[in-house]
Symmetry: C2
Subunit: 547 residues, 2 copies
């Protein structure tokens, strides 16, 4: 049997555009001789549609789109993800569904059984689980059609079974000869090898080959990495689509390999590609062409600029140096050198004169109090205002350059360096930013990011001779504590017991807990670890705790 | 039987402080002769704890707190809300639970069956439903103990049954003679009369009296209004606790009335009291004493200042006028008059000099382009910077003064007038801001809010002779469209069919849809309508749709 895995990059909500894309992929699959083409989860609307699902007219439009797609299914069948109205009188109003379209009509509809409601997922907000599972007949072949989470109820891999129901086992019992999974499985660091093991387990446990069709593309915080794959009944990967780009992978299930096996990049390279895709798609899907960012001469803005240039082309990136009285000479030269190396536009706007007038105007109101964070933040916010002025005037999206370590402990200024539409590195800890800088230079085969930006002590340069380590522990210590506290939900005691200095741990945890109000107003980020500061982490602000 | 309804205002996460409060209320209830005292849902941790529930050490601490509370239960029994670890191997890790404590120990634990996962609620993210329901014996009396949503599966009232299970009916069948509900039911406009009808229905349907114990207080976006109540089997309210404040309501179920029946304010007065409570609790629970806000002379900042003065005392409110070259004389005089009327501190910082230097520095970069929104936003962001400088220097929380209508259509400046920690009016449409101003003056018996602020045409004063209606339809039209589009999820076609001009509706919907990125970074708001721009509305940003 010849199948096509249609790994598309939809725009969330754009039912008309996504339908056009689906029709094109059907046509390509038919031309390639596939008898069945499979699309990702909720492919008509793009994943995650979030509260668009609460709009009845949106649901109607998505149902009409599937009907239109079905009419195009002649000489080929298609499995397409969509949202269907729940016809039961009790329960949530929708089901997360897959339509089996053949001979010009919707022949079967199957439903997602397991609805992830954790981390970034909110599916029980919208959907009722499918009432039961049953096979789909495709040209005499019994298929077990599942949707994303239906594959993941694996206590060996996940540590706990979250759901009573076992859709995979039930479909195997019902006689399925091939498992098909429509997915929208977002990238995170280390997930692809994990997927390989989990899917291999599932294939072996049920003794059935497995086809996993993933969405690709960035949708707000989530980056879908594609890499759709086919595994045989022994759990071996016998075909794999390209990562981080659209692909139509045609496979012959009887072949070995069944089709192309595209390589998946290693750790840091995968994170790089994810951030490039996430940046490109956020900028483009928001309707922007160009971006602007502040260049401090430091490593965060350098890496952000390099990723943006890779995502959008250097001609679409504008870097702005905004030196102050506290800026070092190397900051300006490193910023300019970076811009030259990348081939991006470079501008300089000194903030000294503006800063001076702010000080004059505020002096009578500051009542002779000594300088403190207030004075530092004023400078950061002048820069935010200048960058937003350029953004507003020329329609450039402002990229924020802060990293996850800073955002974690609140070492950043609201409306200052936190200003912007997209925070490219907000889920990249500082130690990983250094690795990324080295990786970017290795890829380029030259020091695109100036060595000085990598090796000098990090500093916000908001007062004389300032360095980050005046306020924070060394970044390798900070990042290790943040990993345990934020990503792993370890407690104060557990982290100290793991060998960290008690005072340092207490300070870091206090900083994390008291800067929720900043993260509440942070720019959209891109998730690349198991836990980002985004929709998957929902903390109270007006709260008091220490755990 | 003598019962006590312990309507407490917990701090989210503050298990130690909340436990102290619970112990004090137990003591008071015992002194008043009650045999059972009932606390709200998750009372040990405060509602909503959100992702604090993912911290194992936090769960341990909450379990230990309940054990401590149980030891204090001698001569009286208590029902206390807490989170318990799910001992089943399959399913989510926690249950939303009520402990029946008596004779110094936890005698029974009962679980929430229905887990709201819609609007602002995320309970299926954390909890597994209770495996079954059964009665609790209190001094020979069979009680049906339920938690919040367990009461609300009412198709007559809600329009749809969301859940298969009927915990109320099952408990009635099991022989319960009294229904008790531990709640954390947030305020919204019109909800209290609705609660009365819904609870009345439930009491009548099962022929049982009903005790509803609500949380009170503001926790981030949510304002819990208290007004705990007791209904008899005919559905009549026979006791009601105070709204918007802590209360211990002791009732004798055999009496008519059973206890005090405290009045609940009418519509606009209830919204007023909710905003005052929400502001006070957000500021205090975040650890602040004073607030600062910009006073433009307009109605939004005037109403915000009046609410803040009511919440915190005028001595804790600082108003700052920041006139520009475009500010009218009446703006300055109205702002100052307001401050005098309220008795708050008043400061003036002119932005002209700073504005001028910004223009000078940006002129070469703006390349001779005509003035547009960029120039307007610069002024708003200068003001944001000045207010944040005062906030940082003196530790005053900055209040944002924008209303729901502006936030809906993006008629506001990120990092400018949107800067601040709390947006008091972000769920109050402009037309309701006018009503609130009148209401505030009526309560005071004098024109606290200057008549000029109420009657002049609204203007952002960011360019010469600007008024809001240069850019927006009249506010009564705008608010009616926003109500249908945002709160009711009506479609473009439906709103036009309701009698609005098609071009106006299209424009408003386009403005709403394209300003999600602003709301992503908006300050914490206070929810007072059925749908706020907050955690209960989760829209994609990089999306394309028109429904």
């Amino acid at each position: 049997m010849k199948l096509a895995l249609a790994q598309i990059n939809p725009v969330v909500g754009d039912i008309i555009g996504n339908t056009e894309k689906i029709l094109q992929f059907i046509e390509r699959a038919r031309s390639a001789g596939a008898s069945l083409v499979i699309f990702p989860e909720l492919s008509v609307m793009g994943y995650p549609p979030r509260d668009l699902l609460l709009k009845p007219r949106f649901i109607e439009a998505n149902v009409q789109a599937v009907a239109r797609i079905a009419r195009a299914c002649t000489g080929i069948a298609a499995l397409v993800g969509f949202a269907e109205v729940n016809t039961d009188l009790v329960g949530r109003r929708l089901r997360n569904a897959a339509a089996y379209c053949a001979e010009g009509e919707i022949r079967q509809v199957r439903y997602k059984s397991l609805l992830p409601t954790y981390d970034v997922f909110d599916e029980q907000r919208y959907f009722e689980p499918g009432p039961e599972v049953s096979i789909v007949e495709h040209q005499g072949q019994p298929l077990g059609v599942t949707i994303c989470e239906d594959l993941w109820n694996d206590e060996q891999m996940i540590g706990r079974r979250l759901y009573q129901r076992e859709p995979m086992a039930l479909l195997a019992e019902a006689g399925a000869k091939l498992m098909i999974n429509l997915s929208a499985s977002p990238f995170e660091r280390g997930k692809q090898p994990f997927r390989g093991r989990l899917f291999g387990n599932q294939a072996r446990r049920h003794g059935l080959p497995l086809v996993f069709v993933n969405q690709v593309g960035g949708n707000d915080e989530l980056i879908f990495d594609g890499a759709s794959m086919v595994l045989d009944a022994s759990g071996e990967v016998i075909a794999q689509a390209k990562p981080f780009t659209e692909d139509l992978l045609v496979v012959d299930l009887d072949g070995r390999p069944a089709g192309r096996i595209e390589p998946y990049p290693q750790d840091i390279a995968a994170i790089h590609d994810a951030l490039v895709l996430g940046t490109r798609d956020y900028v483009r899907k928001c309707g922007f062409k160009k971006v602007v960012l502040g260049l401090s001469g430091g490593i965060d803005s350098a890496v952000t600029a390099a990723l943006a240039a890779a995502a959008l082309g250097p001609e679409n990136v504008v870097g702005v140096a905004m030196p102050s009285r506290y800026s070092s000479d190397h900051s300006r030269t490193d910023a300019e050198l970076l811009a030259q190396n990348l081939g991006i536009t470079f501008k300089t706007i000194a903030i000294g004169a503006i800063h001076h007038v702010f000080e004059e105007e505020l002096r009578p109101h500051f009542e002779g109090r000594p300088p403190d964070l207030a004075e530092e933040n004023i400078q950061a916010r002048i820069r935010g205002n200048l960058l937003m002025a350029l953004s507003n005037k020329f329609g450039w999206l402002l990229l924020t350059t802060g990293n996850k370590s800073e955002l974690g402990v609140g070492y950043c200024t609201l409306y200052g360096d936190m200003a912007g539409g997209l925070a490219v590195l907000s889920d990249v800890p500082k130690t990983l930013v250094y690795q990324m800088a080295r990786h970017i230079n290795e890829r380029a085969g030259r020091a695109v990011i100036p060595e000085g930006s990598i090796t000098k002590p990090p500093s916000a340069e908001l007062r004389p001779d300032q360095t980050d380590q005046d306020s924070l522990p060394p970044y390798d210590v900070l990042d290790a504590i943040l990993e345990q506290y934020v990503n792993e939900e370890k407690s104060l005691d557990e982290i100290i017991a793991a060998g960290f200095d008690a005072d340092v741990v207490q300070k870091v945890i206090r900083l994390v807990d008291t800067s929720e109000y900043k993260r509440k107003q942070a720019a959209q980020g891109l998730k690349v670890t198991s836990r980002a500061f985004g929709i998957g982490r929902r903390m109270p602000i007006a709260a008091r705790f220490r755990y």
